[in-house]
Symmetry: D2
């Protein structure tokens, strides 16, 4: 394995994503696919299945949130510093239906010493915005990669 | 079936909850149990399973959110007026771990003509607060029960 | 006065802004300047004065919020439909100090029949981001302009 | 002056409030009165004056927010640890009018090592809820009192 000190910043972001994906049973169980292009940015996609529908017949907000939260988590964890969600706000703009292919795009708005702000936009296969999510991260100061 | 006009307010809340539960594949798929005691209030419980764990080995925020969102949805849908989540904020106070039994208690803070505010507190089996959630509802003006 | 029905959309946005500005004692009292370029967008600027400082010697969050809220209000009121703030979230990213010239830029993210979402970014004279604000509007359905 | 090490916890909270009040030009300029009863709790009151009215003739949201934010700031600064607002959400439930006497009551929901969550409820002289505010604090780790 390449040593941590020899890795470039994109290498580090990619390796952190690999480690998290391998361990992330929640996201994979929901069929979420994640792509991390660089530290601070991530995209996650998910198809809305019938077992994600709520009592009104549309996608339960928890699953829309989970998709956005996944993109957020991968965006904020690309620095080899284990980082958790401290808070989030979500605006639900339109319902997601069974069969919809949702895409969540996360980008960093600010990254400070211990906390960061990330914006995530969730849209459907027609590029209509389904939800706006803003997450606050809190970094633990613990590295993710072995030295 | 009892006609809508002969039902008391608690009857209506209970009947709305029954109908929603029967159709809610998302919540039942997550093992969420819901109790609605009156219109505007609901409790939901969920056990954190291993397939809810994220890449850091703790419960994915999406599932904590989903539990709170479910309690919120049942609290705001007890008036025979189909009501959806418009927005929510969540503060994650401590991680939830595999095996934890989470309880979400939703109460109404305000209910206006078209929107409402609901506070949900999610705690674990040790009564430690896991998350604080505040949801904004938007009512459709469409009845849920047959006349 | 030009009649409402002969006005273009930018005319309407401009006229709504004029009427609101003339009546807005709060914003003018804070020295806030507002520019509305089109319906759904607005910029507001404010200098931080010593009487805006809190007990820690930096600008009280209430004034940073007020600036963002003003930009939001002018952005969402450009459609000749009296619209109020229903909710807002704000992330304070760095302090504002006495003498700072703050600029709040509001843009519409979504406008539905009765509610809308607006993002406002507040930055200082060095273009450093001071705060991120997201507001939810609620329209009254009442026109602002005389017919 | 009593030395820091001889002070009780309520003494410390009271002394921190005194120091902050003396320096807080923003709150006093708005006519805000603050009472701190214990660390983690505070009440602030303010009369809505005509120069707080916005273009719709009701109290500008920035001033309602400022009142809540003041109560929050005094609640979270009672531990002799300089603490700033990191984020806040506010739900505006009803307008405040000129002459209204608003009261903001802040209570601590959680206080961790570096951050805390505080709920503030703003009500008018008829005890009607005007706004619900939730603030996230970030402590600097710097003491406020001289040793």
């Amino acid at each position: 394995m390449t040593e941590r000190k020899e890795m470039t910043r994109p290498d580090i972001a990619g390796r952190c994503a690999e480690l998290m994906l391998a361990a992330d049973q929640a996201s994979s169980g929901l069929g979420i696919q994640v792509v991390v292009t660089e530290a601070g940015a991530a995209e996650a996609t998910m198809e809305v299945t019938v077992n994600m529908l709520n009592g009104h017949g549309v996608c339960h907000g928890g699953f829309v949130f989970a998709l956005a939260d996944t993109a957020f988590a991968f965006a904020c964890n690309g620095y080899d510093d284990i980082t958790l969600a401290a808070a989030a706000t979500v605006e639900f703009l339109r319902p997601a239906n069974a069969g919809d292919c949702l895409r969540a795009v996360a980008r960093e708005r600010r990254r400070g010493r211990t906390s960061g702000i990330y914006d995530v936009e969730v849209s459907n296969q027609q590029d209509k915005c389904v939800a706006l999510f803003r997450g606050r991260s809190h970094s633990s100061g613990q590295p993710m990669l072995a030295v």
